[in-house]
């Protein structure tokens, strides 16, 4: 490790000599780590692109800070994320925007805890990501909060009382949300009439869907990523079963799967703090720039990462981070600074406590004509 740090420092020195233009401009080296290839590439590319838009804005605005964005691919893999993390530090990263997905983030975050590297994850939402690690902070809700908020939303808006839950019991993301959802549903007098599980290898969902259908569920809660969700929607359509499907942030992205029949997702609801069709000025500006650059509508993950860059800059300003600080030096300063700031981003107004969890208000969106629309 020492060798790597020494190399990184040497590299940074040479680099700073070469690029020392003006004394007062501070260059922050931020590494984005996420799956830009692999099964979860949609999320990693979204966070990368969202971050790139923010970096471009900040660099073009020409203020006190310049950002150099380093990108490393972890393929949503707990082994490869370690290589990505090391490569990012070798490239001179001072802080990390990442990682995008939960399991890799647990692994890299734990390593960052011992190495003293600051992590701000846009979208890794399991509690294990921030548990026992003072160096990792989240921009999205933790999974338990998503489950709780979903149950509250369903009860408050009286969407139905008979609920089926289908979840992936091989995935902490899915089980984490399911646990608090079931707990909160009981408190709100919502009846769970059917509960079934699947694993990462499952491709056949006929049993799970039939169980929900035969139990007469009015709402099917799907705490999972969009890939299995799209198969569940297809299976339900085949069986002419049309309850309200209620998803969480992993459902975001289902509309961008190539070849997906978006009519299957019609009426699907999901909790998300960001909707691209919002009329909010900052959101409109972000969506326009994103569309111009990448020719697609940004998903929530992109918005989270966009906010992430601004959060890091604001925290760096508060902490007085300079261009030549090592990740170790910056880490503790950033940990203290992020707890003192309030960031008004496109995903809401955010504050953090020492646990690393964010505080902001969730909103529910419905898919209508292949687009997300806010309920209220």
């Amino acid at each position: 490790m020492k060798k790597i740090i020494a190399l990184a420092l040497a590299f940074m020195m040479i680099w700073s000599v070469c690029t020392a233009v003006a004394e007062d401009v501070i260059t922050l080296k931020i590494a984005h780590i996420g799956p830009t290839t692999g099964a979860a590439a949609l999320y990693g590319l979204a966070t990368l692109h969202g971050a790139e838009i923010a970096v471009q804005e900040i660099n073009e605005a020409g203020g006190k800070y310049r950002i150099e964005l380093i990108n490393e691919d972890d393929e949503h893999n707990v082994e490869k994320v370690i290589n990505a993390y090391n490569a990012a530090l070798d490239a001179g990263a001072q802080m990390i925007l990442g990682t995008t997905t939960s399991k890799p983030c647990e692994a890299a975050g734990a390593l960052g805890y011992t190495d003293r590297v600051f992590f701000l994850t846009p979208s890794a939402s399991s509690t294990a990501v921030i548990e026992d690690k003072d160096n990792v902070f989240q921009i999205c809700f933790t999974d338990p909060n998503q489950g709780r908020a979903s149950a509250q939303y369903i009860a408050d808006h009286q969407l139905g009382t008979k609920i089926a839950v289908i979840y992936n019991n091989a995935d902490v993301y899915s089980t984490g949300i399911r646990d608090t959802f079931v707990e909160e549903a009981a408190a709100k007098n919502l009846e769970i009439v059917s509960e079934s599980t699947f694993t990462d290898e499952t491709t056949d969902f006929t049993v799970q869907v039939a169980d929900a259908q035969n139990a007469g569920a009015e709402i099917v809660f799907l705490p999972m990523y969009y890939t299995p969700a799209s198969m569940i929607l297809k299976t339900a359509a085949d069986k002419a079963y049309a309850p309200i499907f209620f998803g969480v942030d992993g459902m975001d992205g289902i509309l961008s799967v190539e070849g997906f029949d978006t009519s299957l997702a019609e009426g699907v609801m999901l909790l998300t703090p960001f909707v691209a069709t919002s009329k909010d000025e900052k959101v409109v500006s972000f969506v326009n720039k994103y569309q111009a650059a990448y020719n697609e509508i940004p998903i929530q993950f992109a918005a989270d990462a966009y906010d992430g860059i601004y959060i890091l800059v604001q925290a760096a300003e508060k902490a007085g981070i300079t261009s030549d600080m090592s990740p170790e030096e910056a880490c503790d300063l950033l940990i203290a600074a992020i707890q003192e700031i309030t960031v008004d981003g496109i995903t809401g107004s955010m504050t953090w406590d020492e646990s690393g969890a964010v505080t902001k208000t969730p909103l529910a969106a419905t898919i209508v004509n292949g687009e997300y629309v806010f309920e209220d």
Partner: protein, 292 residues
């Protein structure tokens, strides 16, 4: 009603396993090798059909035909390049080559089509589902079961009645003797691969019509299950692959529905172990005579 529903789902899943299992069993029966790349030929077939439907705007029948041709060419090429040179080598060498071929195909698909999962366009067959009381049967399910029956009947007739079929049976029984009798063993094995791969294309389309997520690893799990089905029914036997596949699908669905959704796969493999303990050559396998 739920019992019937599960039975139909099981038959549909089992029919897909059965068609894939045919590919394993034919190649094993005739070339005496386990073609572990078979599952990945299915995946390639599904991708080609996906391209046909999504990018080239072909009508479904034509897209399936293109996919079958592509898979046939691929299957024969794999056999010619990778397996034929190893015809006299130890069976372990061939097995390892097949596993290597499987990875090669997966990574090639990753390179060409990327890692993002694609959703197989299914609107052309599942726009209608038939209602029988409370029971809904999708057209995809019916087509799958029907295709399965047609394929099995025609394959049985092919091996029983045609000259090539006879040659296949000869090669399967005794390769050396068949060669002495003037049968072109290499050509027979190539034809076997061609048929197996064309079936793989059909299996790929049917698989993705029922379970529409398409990614480079799509073929591996169904491939392993179908291999299990082939062993279950008695590897080398065509009706055995059929029976094994259908039973495996039904057991999997019933296991998930009535015992536990988590243990579905475990139940499948547990049944396989029990069957092999009682009948080591599989349900319809020929008993192996030990020469002393």
């Amino acid at each position: 009603m739920i019992f019937l529903d599960n039975l139909i789902n099981g038959l549909s899943l089992g029919s897909i396993y059965a068609i894939i299992a045919l590919g394993y069993t034919m190649v094993y029966g005739i070339a005496k090798m386990l073609n572990f790349a078979h599952g990945d030929v299915i995946m390639i077939g599904a991708y080609v059909a996906f391209c046909g439907l999504q990018y080239w705007g072909l009508p479904p029948v034509l897209a399936i035909a293109v996919s079958m041709i592509a898979c046939t060419v691929l299957g024969v090429t794999i056999e010619g390049l990778a397996y034929r040179p190893l015809r006299q080598a130890a069976s372990l060498a061939v097995l390892i080559t097949a596993i290597g071929m499987s990875y090669l195909l997966q990574n090639t698909a990753l390179m060409i089509w990327g890692a993002n999962p694609k959703s197989f366009p299914t609107t052309f067959i599942n726009s209608v589902s038939i209602r029988l009381g409370r029971l809904n049967i999708s057209i995809a399910t019916l087509i799958t079961i029907f295709a399965n029956i047609v394929i099995m009947v025609s394959l049985t007739l092919f091996t029983a009645k045609t000259k090539m079929g006879k040659a296949m049976r000869c090669v399967s029984e005794d390769r050396g003797a068949a060669e002495l009798m003037g049968i072109n063993v290499n050509r027979t094995i190539s034809v076997t691969f061609a048929i197996g791969s064309a079936l793989a294309a059909i299996a790929g389309v049917l698989l993705c019509s029922s379970y529409p997520i398409l990614q480079p690893t799509t073929g591996s799990m169904p491939g392993i299950k179908a291999f299990t089905a082939a062993v279950f029914g008695g590897i080398g036997s065509i009706p055995g692959a059929m029976l094994g596949g259908v039973l495996l699908g039904v057991i999997e669905i019933f296991g998930k529905a009535y015992i536990s959704t988590e243990l579905g796969d475990a139940i499948v493999f547990a049944v396989l172990i029990v069957v092999l303990l009682v009948k080591p050559t599989g349900l319809l396998g020929r008993p192996i005579r030990e020469k002393v």
